[in-house]
Symmetry: C2
Subunit: 352 residues, 2 copies
């Protein structure tokens, strides 16, 4: 279904300045405001059905915030880390950042006439996804580099902002920033209302997510950890400029997630949420005791995509967000497996 992603960037004018950002995210900001009140109201997590999942989350938060209680954790150590794709927002029919990159190639095609006859660009422009897939990992890397490297940080952020403002999800027709999970927005707000510092730790690009994480999730850029490519600094015509380059500095996935946490956060999370085997090591890092005396309270959580009606249903066999090893390990580690169909009253935010 990738080929139905619209390529609207090419029909738009120049980049959108940050002053307009507020308007672009008005929808997100609205449900953000609704959240802030719901989280502090008597009943937390209103979009979660009453049941084991909700009860376990609330019990954990109560335990670590009860002063003089046996499981009390001081606020500075209440670190919570969340995967993004498939955990905070959807990831089907393909990672949204890949859809962004495909749209960028189409938008830039007019300036690169040679792309019409050169793979992998040729297949992207023609909407020939089997053709693109035939170019393999090397082809996908080229596509990602077109959209992410050899430009200033400002130009990149503007291109993401414009795409988020105009692109629509291929099957739901919604803006991507409305493909976020309402129950997870509530969970983020609930944790913050209880003194947690919430972080994204995702295989997605750090600079890509930072464009919308604050407005959509209430997570500021300095609390977003993701896959990272190199950058350099220069004065360009006297103006301080960050230039994004192509060398990968961190693949923030699988074993890379604890490394990203160590590098950016510098301490162990006590709450970690993911949805795939890419999150396995982060869940291990957060929850496995370090020695026989380690009684640090810790909560691991997996969002299980079980709702083919309201969202998508996939796990062990999926090429996107494969959940296999982590699902096997969950019972042994005591990780909460959230059943989207059973545990969530509502998946996406109500449209304004």
């Amino acid at each position: 279904m990738i080929h139905t992603a619209t390529a609207v960037l090419g029909r738009r004018g120049s980049s959108i300045g940050s002053r307009k950002l507020g308007a672009l995210f008005a929808g997100a900001a609205l449900f953000g405001a609704a959240l802030a009140s719901s989280a502090t109201a008597d009943e937390p997590l209103p979009s979660w059905n009453d049941g084991d999942a909700k009860a376990r989350i609330v019990a954990f938060v109560d335990a670590v915030t009860t002063e003089r209680g046996p499981q009390f954790v001081p606020p500075t150590e209440r670190i919570a880390t969340f995967d993004n794709d498939g955990c905070l927002w959807a990831e089907q029919p393909a990672y949204f950042q890949l859809l962004f990159a495909l749209d960028r190639v189409r938008a830039l095609a007019a300036d690169h006439p040679d792309w019409k006859t050169t793979e992998p660009y040729k297949s992207v422009i023609a909407g020939d996804m089997p053709g693109l897939m035939a170019t393999g990992k090397e082809g996908l890397v080229k596509i990602m580099l077109v959209a992410h490297a050899d430009m200033t940080a400002k130009e990149f952020a503007a291109s993401v902002r414009e795409w988020l403002a105009t692109a629509r999800h291929p099957t739901t027709g919604k803006p991507y920033t409305q493909m976020v999970y309402q129950p997870m927005l509530e969970l983020l707000a609930y944790l913050r209302a209880n003194g947690f510092k919430t972080f994204i730790v995702s295989g997605g690009g750090i600079d890509f997510m930072r464009v919308f994480a604050e407005e959509v999730y209430g997570i500021p850029p300095e609390q977003v950890v993701g896959s990272t490519i190199d950058a350099k600094f220069e004065l360009r015509d006297g103006v301080p400029t960050i230039v994004k380059e192509g060398k990968i500095v961190l693949v923030d996935d699988k074993v890379g997630k604890p490394v990203g946490i160590y590098r950016h956060i510098g301490r162990r999370p006590i709450f970690a949420a993911g949805n795939s085997d890419g999150d396995l090591q982060m869940l291990q890092y957060a929850t496995i005791p370090r020695d026989a005396h380690d009684a640090t309270p810790a909560f691991g959580m997996i969002v299980h995509h079980t709702d083919g009606q309201r969202e998508w249903a996939y796990d062990r066999e999926s090429h996107i967000g494969q959940l296999d090893k982590a699902l096997d390990e969950a019972p042994r580690r005591g990780w909460l497996v959230v059943d989207m169909a059973q545990d969530w009253k509502q998946i996406f935010p109500t449209a304004e």
Copy 2:
């Protein structure tokens, strides 16, 4: 004077657990508490003499925190970045982290009999600093790797903690955590009391500084940015373990500082403080307008080491903390140059 640094680690027992950290930093915590009250009292910055420097800092903070004022900056964007060596703590007669590394080599020498006859270790063990210097940059890198690489993150942090608890500065005889600048501690607290988020952005090692930054400066690990070597994650006998490796991922100095800020913070600071040419690009990044319409308020500050009596006096010709280009650029950019001898009533915290 490097050779007078004491090598006490070798005489100590095993590593000190994090539970004892509070005791080790009791002194620092005490002046931290004193600070918290001073910063919120009527007169901020009590260790700063009344004069232009203090007045300019206070005027800037007043301007960006005055709601509906023309220079108001929302709290989420009140990012302040501080260099560490020579800005928050002293850096003479050598960077303290180098003194740590030299002490580590001496502490580990018994396990490496070959070091007695092999450079650069031989010179370090003999206290022969000209001999060490003759081994050049390559020799220094080897010394730093002994102290920082090929060990777990936990082992490294324990070694730093133990060194800080036991080592004494070669000329003052003080613990290194008391070689911090009282006026800068007050400035950090004053900014935080006014809604700023304070960060360290230093050429020093990120993992080294994180061991003491929270207790000594009130800056949590996730707000410490520094030079970084690679790390990997593994389950070691079933226990989540971060292993520090030797490959440099970021040299957080000069042009590397804006890159470190972009990578870890993801937005432009509005307050930046340094003391050497290593901070020049950070000061440029924070303060130079991006275009003709950019009126973002920004404050650049240089701590000028002018006090040979109470601290050290050095600038253009110094091998440590050289301040030359940035000093020339300061008037043109409007950066505040703090004259330690004139502007500071007191340099170091009063001993308890």
